[in-house]
Amino acid sequence: MANYFNTLPLREQLNQLGVAEFMDISEFADGVSALKGKKIVIVGCGAQGLNQGLNLRDSGLDVSYALRKEAIEQKRDSWKNATDNHFNVGTYEELIPTADLVSNLTPDKQHSSVIDAVMPLMKAGATLSYSHGFNIVEEGKEIRKDLTVVMIAPKCPGSEVRAEYLRGFGVPTLIAVHPENDPQGKGLAEAKAYCVGTGGHKAGVLRSSFVAEVKSDLMGEQTILCGLLQTGSILSFDKMIEKGIEPGYAAKLVQYGVEVITEALKQGGITAMMDRLSNIAKIKAFEVSEELKTIMRPLFQKHQDDIMSGEFSRGMMEDWANGDKKLLEWRAATGETAFEKTPAGDIKIGEQEYFDHAIFMVAYIKSGVELAFETMVEAGIKPESAYYESLHETPLIANTIARKKLFEMNRVISDTAEYGCYLFDHACKPLLADFMKTVDTDIIGRNFNDGKDLAVDNQALIVVNEAIRTHPVEQVGAVLRRAMTAMKAIKTA
C-alpha cells in the first residue's frame, strides 16, 4: 500500500490539508435522524469503542459490537465491556453484513488487518467510519468504491467522551468525509448525525479532512502534547534535584504543576497562563520562551517534515513489524527516570505557587504551543486545525501526568503518539543541554519574585503583552474557545 498523501499532486495535497471549517451548532439541527433506525456496528470495545457506543445508544441509535472470534471465545476485556453493558455482540461474520455503518475503533496498529477482514463482509453502499485517519492516509488503505468513508474524531480520551455526554455536554470533535469515498454524497450527513449521537456538537465541531487530521494530529502529539511535556517534566525535575530542592517537593511541583498551569491555558490561552505571573516573572518567562523557541525550532520542523514525507510512519511501521521493539525499550527506559520513581511529597503547594515556582515550565509550555502551531501553519495546516492539535489538547494530556506521571500519559495516549513522543524527547534533551546549564532555581523550584523589586518598565511590559496577545494561536483560540466555554475545569489535587 502506498502512502495516500504522497500519491496526491501538490495541488490536491494543499487542498486537503487546508480543510478546516468551524461549524455552527445550527448545522446539527437534524440531530441523529440520518442514522435513526440504521444499524451501527462498532468494531473494537476499548475506551473509545465502548464509550462512543454507550453515547450513541443513549441518543436513541441502534448499536452492536463486532469482535474477533478469539476475543469472544476467550471472554477478553472487550467482550466483557460490551456484554456487561448489555450490547448485542457477535463475530465479524455475524454482524458486519447487517451493518449500515461500521465504526472502526480498534488501535491504529490493527487497522489494516481489521479492514481486510471487515471490508469484504460489508453490504453494498454502507458506511465505514474511523476516529483517526492514519490507516487511510499513512498506510494508504483503499476502500471499496461503493462504501462511504467518514471520520468522527472526539478530541478527548474515551472516558471524557462519556463523562461530558452524561453531564449534558460533549467534547470538541473533528469530522471529515474521505473525498475518494463518498459515492452517494451522504457522508457529511451521517458524520454529523454520529457526532450528535456522541454529544460532540455541543462543544464545537471542526470540519476537517482525513489528511489534515492525520498530519496535524501526529505533529501535535509528538511535539507539544506528549514529547514536550515529557521532556519538560524530566528536565525540570532533574534541575531541581541537581540544585538541592527536596525531591518530594520537586516531584509534586512538576506532576501537578503541568496540570495547574495548563488549566489557565485551557481557559484563556497563553495570555491567561502568562497573566498568572507577576509582571517581572512574565517578562522573564517571555525571554526564556523566546530563547527556547530559537533552539527548538529546527526540531519541530524536522518532526513536521518527517510527518509530511511519510518518513515518520515508515519508521514506526517498521517497528510494528519488529514487534514494537523500540517502543517497548523506550517505554521501559521512561519508567526508570528519577522523576518517575520519586513519589510526590505530602506537602501542600498552593495554586499560585505552581506558577511562581515554575516559570521555566510556563515558558517551556508557551514555547512548545507556539512552535507547534507556527510549524503546522507554515506546512499548510489551517490555524483552526493547528489550534486543536496544540493548545487545546495540552491540558488534557497534562491531566494524565497529574494522575500518574509519564507512565499514565504514555498509557492513555495511543501507541502512535507514544512512539513519536519518545522520538522527540530523545532529540530534545541533548538539544537543550547547554541551555539547561544556565537554568537555576529562581525559575524552577523557588519563587521567582522572592527578594526582588517587583517594579517594571512600562514600555518593556507593553511590548511583551502585545507579543503574547497578538500571536495567531491567541487570535484563533479566542474564537474557538467561545464555543467551549462550558468545558469543565479539570480537578486538581
Binding site: 463523562a163 449534558g168 462550558a486 480537578k491
Partner: protein, 488 residues
C-alpha cells in the same frame, strides 16, 4: 490543674462571603466528650474541620496527646458525607459511573481498602469484624468502592474511625442513614471508645446520644457557646409557608396514565445479582415510598428509570408509555423527570453557583451551556424567592450549608415542572429540622398532579403525601402496600 487536650484561642476563619469563626476560644479537658450542635449554617462543621487542621485558620490550635496512652496520637475527622479516590488518586468521576461497567478496576474493593488501612495504621484485622457487622458490611467485602452508595461510604469512614481509636475523634452527623437499633449499637461503641480514653466530639442536633457525652455547645456569631444540655441548643426557625410560584401550580402535561412499568426486572454483573424479578407499576399522580437496606438495590432500580443505567436496554421497561430502547434518547426521558440523589449532589459541579445551577435544571445538564430566555429567568427568580435563596443566588453552592445545598438541588430539579419527581434519600446528612423543612416543601410541590418516588430510611421523617410503599430486600420486592398512616 491538668492540661487541656485541645486548647484553642482567638481562632479566626473568613470565607469570601463573610466571617465564620470570630476570635473563638475553646478547651477540651481530659475526660470530656463534647456535642457541638446549633443552627444550620452556624459554622459547626467548619469548626470541627478546623480542629482537625483541615481549614486555613488563624489563631492558636494546640492539641496535647497523652504520651502514655496506647491509642494513636491522632485527630480524626469523619465528614458528614464522603468522597473517595480511585487507584490513581483521581476524583474526576461522574455520578452514573458506577453503572457504566468497564474492565479496568478503577477502585479498590472494600476488603483491599481496609487491608491497606490496617497495614498503614498497624491495626489487627481481627478487631474489624464487629464494626463490619454493625454497619451491615459483612457481605460487601468484595464490592468495589465505586459501587458503594454515599451512605455506605460514610459508614466505611466510621468503621475506619472506630477501628483506629484515635485519641481525638470528631464525627460530623454520625447517625446519617442508620436505623434505631444500629444507632444504639453505635452509641455503645462510642461509649466503649470513651472508656478506653478516646476524646469524642460529635457534631449533630440529633438526640439519643451516647452516655459519654458530657459537654454541650453551639457556634453562635462565630464563637463557641457552652450550654447545659441538648435541649438548650438553638434550633432553626420554622419556615413561613409561601405561595408556590404559579408556573409550578399548573399540573404537568402527562403523556401517559402509567409513568413507569417494570416487568420481571433483572440486573446482574457477572456472578452478582443486584435486582431479581422486580415487577412494579407507578401510575400518574401516585406518591411512592421506596425503602430497603443499603445494597438492597434501590438506587439501581431508580437508575433504570432515569436513563442512567445501561442495563435498562436489556429489560422490559416502559416509561411514559414508551418501551425503553425503542429509539428514544436519554434526554427525552430526563426531560420528564426531576431527580435528586446523594450521588448527584456528590458529583455536582464544584464551580456551580446557585442561580446557574437552578437554570441548568431546564436542560438536565450539570453546568449551564446555553442562554436562558427572559421567561425562564423570571421563573428562576420566583423559585429562588420561594426557597428563600435569593440572597444566595450568586454564591458557590459548595459554600452553603448542606441543608441549603439540597434545597438548591431541589429547586434545580423542579424548575422545569416535571411530571415525575424522584427523590433518592434527599435528606441524607441533614438534621431533624432541615429534614422537616425539606419534606414540607416536597408536600407543597407534590400537590399539583405530580408523581413522586421518595427514598427514605426507616427512622427518618418522611413527607406526609406518601401513599404507597415498595420495600426491596436483597434485590427483590419484599412488600408492596398502601400506606394508611406513617408510623414514624
Amino acid at each position: 490543674m491538668t492540661d487541656p487536650v485541645v486548647h484553642i484561642a482567638q481562632l479566626n476563619l473568613q470565607y469570601a462571603h463573610g466571617v465564620v469563626l470570630d476570635q473563638l476560644d475553646w478547651q477540651l479537658l481530659p475526660g470530656e466528650c463534647w456535642l457541638i450542635g446549633g443552627k444550620s449554617g452556624s459554622g459547626k462543621s467548619v469548626f470541627a474541620k478546623s480542629v482537625a487542621g483541615l481549614e486555613e485558620t488563624s489563631g492558636t490550635i494546640r492539641i496535647k496527646f497523652d504520651p502514655l496512652s496506647l491509642l494513636p496520637p491522632r485527630v480524626l475527622y469523619v465528614s458528614n458525607w464522603y468522597q473517595f479516590t480511585n487507584l490513581e488518586g483521581n476524583r474526576n468521576f461522574y455520578y452514573q459511573q458506577r453503572y457504566n461497567k468497564q474492565q479496568k478496576n478503577d477502585t479498590l474493593t472494600i476488603y483491599a481498602e481496609l487491608a491497606a488501612y490496617a497495614k498503614s495504621e498497624n491495626l489487627s484485622m481481627g478487631d474489624l469484624e464487629q464494626y463490619l457487622e454493625l454497619f451491615g458490611f459483612v457481605d460487601l467485602k468484595a464490592t468495589q468502592l465505586i459501587e458503594l452508595s454515599s451512605g455506605e461510604h460514610k459508614k466505611l469512614q466510621l468503621i475506619k474511625a472506630l477501628w483506629l481509636k484515635p485519641q481525638l475523634l470528631i464525627v460530623d452527623e454520625p447517625y446519617t442513614g442508620l436505623d434505631k437499633a444500629s444507632r444504639q449499637k453505635l452509641n455503645g461503641f462510642f461509649d466503649a471508645l470513651a472508656a478506653d480514653g478516646v476524646h469524642l466530639v460529635l457534631v449533630t442536633n440529633e438526640t439519643g446520644l451516647p452516655r459519654c457525652i458530657n459537654r454541650f455547645a453551639e457556634i453562635e456569631g462565630g464563637k463557641l457557646r457552652q450550654v447545659d444540655s441538648v435541649q438548650a441548643l438553638s434550633t432553626d426557625f420554622n419556615r413561613i409557608p409561601r405561595a408556590l410560584p404559579s408556573f409550578l401550580r399548573e399540573a404537568p402535561a402527562l403523556s401517559a396514565d402509567i409513568m413507569v412499568e417494570m416487568e420481571n426486572i433483572h440486573v446482574r454483573y457477572g456472578e452478582k445479582t443486584v435486582l431479581k424479578g422486580i415487577d412494579w407499576t407507578v401510575r400518574a399522580g401516585e406518591k411512592w415510598l421506596l425503602q430497603g437496606h443499603n445494597g438492597s438495590g434501590k438506587s439501581t432500580l431508580l437508575s433504570l428509570i432515569t436513563g442512567d443505567h445501561p442495563q435498562a436496554y436489556a429489560n422490559h421497561i416502559r416509561l411514559f408509555g414508551h418501551r425503553r430502547g425503542s429509539g428514544e434518547s436519554i434526554w427525552e426521558i430526563k426531560e420528564r423527570i426531576g431527580i435528586i440523589s446523594p450521588e448527584l449532589h456528590w458529583y455536582f459541579d464544584k464551580t456551580a453557583r446557585v442561580w446557574q445551577a437552578v437554570a441548568s435544571g431546564f436542560y438536565d445538564s450539570i453546568g449551564l451551556f446555553r442562554q436562558v430566555s427572559y421567561e425562564k429567568q423570571e421563573q428562576i427568580d420566583q423559585l429562588l424567592d420561594f426557597f428563600e435563596l435569593t440572597e444566595d443566588k450568586n454564591r458557590l453552592i459548595t459554600t452553603l450549608p448542606l441543608g441549603k445545598q439540597r434545597l438548591v438541588l431541589l429547586a434545580r430539579t423542579i424548575i422545569k415542572n416535571p411530571p415525575l419527581l424522584i427523590l433518592d434519600e434527599p435528606c441524607q446528612g441533614l438534621d431533624h429540622t432541615q429534614t422537616a423543612l425539606f419534606n414540607a416543601v416536597v408536600d407543597e410541590l407534590c400537590g399539583f398532579g405530580k408523581t413522586l418516588i421518595y427514598v427514605g430510611h426507616y427512622e427518618t421523617q418522611l413527607p406526609s403525601c406518601l401513599e404507597k410503599k415498595i420495600v426491596l430486600e436483597k434485590g427483590e420486592v419484599r412488600v408492596i402496600e398502601e400506606i394508611n398512616e406513617l408510623a414514624y
